[in-house]
């Protein structure tokens, strides 16, 4: 479904992503792990088109999207849920969701918005409330809901559990599993290694912009010593956002 080959991203003198090869098969949840500064966010920015890669290829469902605009990528079915729950704070919940449907012209947006409200009853209750009045967890649900309105086949998430309460982290990972069962492939960038490996089928570990490990999630989870060495030794990040 998504095939990334030999991808390079250079900002000025920083070589943030170094010849990364990565693929997501249809129906998979793939996680990308790594310590701060490992190049995870740069990788996602290149995948969604905010930065032009200096080399390599991004192919989605057989289409070469390497030099395509972010809009073209959204239109072809891959969306990014950015880090830090970046919702439109001056808008209502409903208006945020409408923005998610920005590229839709099929006239069925209303039905899909209804489906989002069924999935997130909290959001339905606060439909016309200012998005800035939502709690952190609800804002994350809104950010995910907004991405879903675009009818993606691949959702990329950048550290969605960051700063959420343990209860919402549980709900978030439950939701990712649910979406996956509904047929959406997921590329999940996380610092919460344990949870990410639980929900994912395969994983990549990045260090200093390079893929240093690539295996099934189960194998990565067993190989904790190696994983932790690359993730910044021992300090398990799931306590960070409690």
């Amino acid at each position: 479904m998504l095939e990334v080959s030999n991808l390079d991203v250079v900002y000025g003198r920083t070589h943030a992503v170094k010849s990364v090869d990565l693929r997501v098969e249809s129906g998979e949840i793939v996680t990308v792990l790594g310590a701060n500064g490992a190049g995870k966010t740069s990788l996602l920015r290149a995948l969604h088109g905010a930065v032009k890669p200096t080399g390599g290829k991004v192919v989605f469902e057989g289409r070469n999207l390497t030099s395509q605009s972010p809009a073209a990528r959204v239109a072809s079915g891959m969306v990014l849920v950015p880090e830090g729950r970046q919702i439109f704070v001056s808008m209502t919940v409903h208006e945020n969701l409408l923005m998610g449907a920005y590229l839709r012209r099929d006239g069925k947006e209303a039905r899909d918005l209804g489906a989002i409200y069924d999935r997130f009853p909290n959001l339905a209750e606060r439909k016309y409330a200012s998005a800035s009045s939502l709690s952190g967890g609800e804002q994350q649900m809104l950010a995910i809901g907004r991405a879903l309105v675009a009818r993606p086949r691949l959702v990329m998430l950048d550290e969605p559990s960051l700063g959420l309460s343990p209860l919402f982290v549980e709900r978030l990972f439950g939701l990712l599993g649910e979406l996956n069962r509904d047929g959406i492939s997921i590329l999940l960038v996380e610092q919460n290694t344990t949870m990410a490996l639980e929900v994912a089928s395969r994983g990549y570990v990045l260090e200093l912009g390079k893929v240093v490990l690539e295996d099934t999630a189960a194998a990565l989870a067993r190989n904790t010593a190696l994983t932790e060495a690359y993730l910044g030794g021992g300090h398990m990040p799931e306590t960070a956002g409690a």
Binding site: M91, T92, L98, A129
Partner: protein, 307 residues
């Protein structure tokens, strides 16, 4: 209707149209401090077509808007590469260039100015202002309006949704320039005479002030801002003598009945402007205020409730 009142309605209508032009740019996060440049382009386009070709007013008004809009779109592509204070300076410089060109072009009357035939009274500018206000209210209720707000909020996230930021910004800037040009065309036909000196930097600053102090979140902002700051100096003209007498008595003096200096009106205007910025930094009319007044969204009353 007295000539004085007719004059005020005409100026008010022109200012409202002008303010909506700047509002469209500001609503998409672009501070346009060169508004008067577009107004001048519209005024001279209408004036020239009217004086030299004798076109009817309906056509010259349209031409003023179209020419200024095209200049706006042409300028938007290079100018939108700049951001923040550089965008402000670039738009400001544009207005200075326009004034320079007018002063040095004999066909436009140079420093002498230019008479514009085809006088329109207050009624047509007023109808124009109402139509422009309705247009902008409508635009802000569409997907385009929502997109402007999204870009104003966060350009990066808007891009994630698939918004082509540059196209939307160019459209907003160009349409705003067209409205500024339309206000200039109305000005030309209402005053009957245009000269480069009337299109000075102060006018750009005033109109931006109308928009920022009126509020940039809803289409009510420019309407309220332009009305308030156009009418206030006129109201002050009436109440200033009384105000002066009041302050003299307050400090134990005896009013001598002389008229206060006119510049006091602008001192009061300035103080009010600073005061508004301090008390209502989002502008006089905010989105929350409109929602509260219209009662259309009952559930927003519960927005303070958290779990």
């Amino acid at each position: 209707m007295s000539g004085y009142l007719a004059g005020i309605i005409a100026i008010l209508s022109i200012n409202i149209i002008f303010a909506y032009g700047i509002f469209l740019a500001v609503a998409s996060g672009q501070l346009n401090l060169g508004g008067v440049g577009f107004q001048a382009v519209g005024a001279y386009a209408a004036g020239l077509l009217s004086a030299s070709l004798g076109l009817p007013v309906a056509l010259t008004l349209l031409a003023g808007a179209v020419v200024a809009g095209l200049v706006g779109v042409a300028l938007a592509f290079p100018i939108l590469r700049t951001r923040g204070v550089y965008l402000v300076l670039a738009t400001f410089a544009f207005a200075e260039v326009v004034a320079g060109i007018i002063l040095n072009t004999d066909a436009l009357g140079g420093a002498m100015g230019m008479s514009v035939p085809g006088y329109v009274e207050w009624q047509i500018p007023m109808i124009g202002a109402i139509l422009v206000a309705l247009l902008v209210f409508y635009l802000m209720a569409t997907r385009f309006g929502l997109t402007l707000r999204a870009i104003h909020d966060d350009e990066d996230v808007s891009e994630l949704m698939g918004v082509s930021i540059r196209n939307v910004k160019v459209a907003a800037f160009g349409l705003g320039a067209a409205l500024a040009g339309l206000s200039g065309a109305f000005y030309a036909h209402n005053f009957g005479y245009i000269e480069a000196q009337s299109f000075n930097a102060l006018v750009s600053i005033y109109v931006l002030l109308y928009v920022l102090l009126g509020g940039t979140q809803t289409a009510w902002g420019p309407l309220v801002g332009a009305a308030f700051f156009t009418l206030l100096p006129e109201v002050l003209r009436e109440v200033l003598p009384a105000l002066k007498d009041f302050f003299i008595t307050l400090f134990g003096g005896v009013p001598d009945g002389s008229r206060p200096d006119e510049s006091w009106r602008f001192v009061i205007l300035g103080v009010l402007a600073v005061g508004f910025m301090a008390i209502r930094p989002e502008g006089l009319v905010t989105r929350t205020m409109v929602e509260r007044l219209t009662f259309r969204r009952p559930s927003s009353r519960f927005k303070e409730v958290t779990e």
